[in-house]
Symmetry: C2
Subunit: 311 residues, 2 copies
């Protein structure tokens, strides 16, 4: 029996994925056919990116699952034509690892106040070593796979880490908080805040005028999560007032960030072009192939999206 | 019996050290007297910085040891009047920890090519995620306490780490090399080179025209070790030719770095003002007090300097 797998992503992705996905599927021993075109009623699985041409799943009568190539599913989770299971990408070797590197790097950059030396036109020699990391509390909002992986990298470097999430989590060495009271406590002691929440109607504008005011004056924001987590007007106001010292932003409501966006020229904002992390074809292909193999063997799918929670 | 301890460092250090050193010595239970002035023939131990007024140790007839406050001892090790044991500072909680934070931060900064986004006057949105750390080999020259601590922080982040030292060392997960052939191999594959060698006549100009040419084109140099490890003229030539892509330098032959030094204005050089690490009074005081306690109990001194090797 042949499993028919439709690859439905932005057109330029096929060149990146054809070889690694073929190799990963070959390694499973499944009989399969992998293509970018099928008659819809022949398709068993769709390897999917939300910006693909496939937006109406109705004709896919025998579809068993949609396997999202991205960690974020906000572009597909509310699609009313999607009635089969949806998985999100949990790619530890690629996507998670890249996020850990980016977050750890930018936490250390702000901790060490590197920008004072990288941009130093006055050639000022100011011998003032930074505090040690044990005196630089970091709070991670969103404490799922990505948030916990970042915490696991920051703890051995000495940072006190607080993780906040919708549902209470726990992790050795981390102060884990949840709920509205927990958010107040998590923000109240954070010198550096990292946003790794999913984009859902519940998480929109998690950082707003009220919550930005909960942070100690001079705190730093790092957002590699999703653009809508921040009320942009409130953040710009907090930067101008000095309540927030700096924001390093990798994601935005509109991407690429439009030329006229005030973030580009704000002296207290660093824009990075949505590079904090990305699904890597080699490792992501192995995750997808393994998940199809599991499902075909009756073992169920990993990384299923909770449609009601939105992630 | 009272142990007389002379504190001999730059004048402004006494204010930082008096309280923590007193507390640490109190905790040992020793009978002691800690002061910045004694008749020389009354002194048992000198807590020492090489820039102190004490340069002639001859009058210190009953001196048992000199305990250097700094990790680097090049300012005292060749003093011909010093005939008693010399210890260097190994301050894991302070000096080592600070070095680990600074080195890890700047390795990640260069790995992630952060400067392209921190300084981006053209507002260029260039969506090109960096490679993963597994594809970014790091070589540490000098693989003692500081080098090994930095390797231990870089390994879990995914970097392939090579450590090179005068005498062969070993550490799980690290490619450990030594000797002249080892240096060629260590530099030949390094995309990022971290200098943590001691300053000795043997290590002067470890990076010179010949060794810089051993690195892959476009490698990055990070020097938190000592200024004389680098032939500055050769480095500037290698930066201008593109052989070396960037140098982040924390230490220099003359400090503060003179205003006319070409490093200040070179576009491929980042100058940091000798902040990579510093002895921290609290933790350093505990290390010194414990070492005096050990010696008074007949257990011998830790962190002894090998006078012939120079560190």
């Amino acid at each position: 029996m042949t499993v028919n797998i439709l690859f439905a992503a932005h057109a330029d992705r096929w060149a990146q994925y054809e070889t690694p996905l073929t190799e990963a599927l070959d390694a499973t021993g499944l009989g399969y056919d992998l293509r970018t075109d099928f008659a819809p009623d022949e398709v068993d699985y769709i390897v999917y990116a939300p910006n693909s041409a496939v937006q109406d799943f109705t004709p896919y009568k025998r579809l068993k699952a949609v396997m999202n190539l991205w960690a974020g599913v906000e572009g597909v989770v509310q699609n009313p034509t999607l009635t089969v299971p949806l998985t999100r990408m949990v790619d530890k070797e690629g996507l998670t690892q890249g996020m850990v590197e980016w977050v750890t790097g930018h936490v250390l950059r702000h901790h060490l106040e590197m920008d004072r030396h990288i941009v130093n036109p006055g050639h000022v020699w100011d011998h003032a070593p930074p505090p040690l990391s044990k005196d630089r509390p970091v709070t991670i909002l969103g404490f799922g796979a990505l948030g916990q992986a970042c915490a696991a990298a920051l703890l051995p470097l000495g940072f006190p880490v607080t993780g906040w999430s919708r549902s209470q989590k726990s992790m050795p060495g981390v102060t884990a908080l949840s709920g509205a009271d927990g958010l107040h406590a998590a923000l109240g002691k954070a010198q550096i805040v990292v946003l790794l929440l999913p984009a859902t109607p519940m998480t929109e504008n998690t950082l707003n005028a009220q919550t930005l005011a909960m942070m100690p004056r001079g705190a730093v924001i790092i957002n590699p999560g999703r653009g809508p987590l921040i009320d942009d007007t409130a953040l710009l106001t907090a930067l101008d007032s000095g309540q927030i010292d700096h924001a390093t932003l990798d994601v935005f409501r509109v991407e690429p960030l439009p030329a006229e966006d005030p973030y580009w020229s704000h002296p207290k904002v660093t824009v990075t072009p949505h590079i904090a992390s990305e699904t890597r074809p080699d490792s992501a292909s192995r995750v997808i192939a393994e998940n199809i193999r599991r499902n075909e063997a009756g073992k169920g799918l990993l990384h299923l999206v909770d449609r009601s929670a939105g992630y």
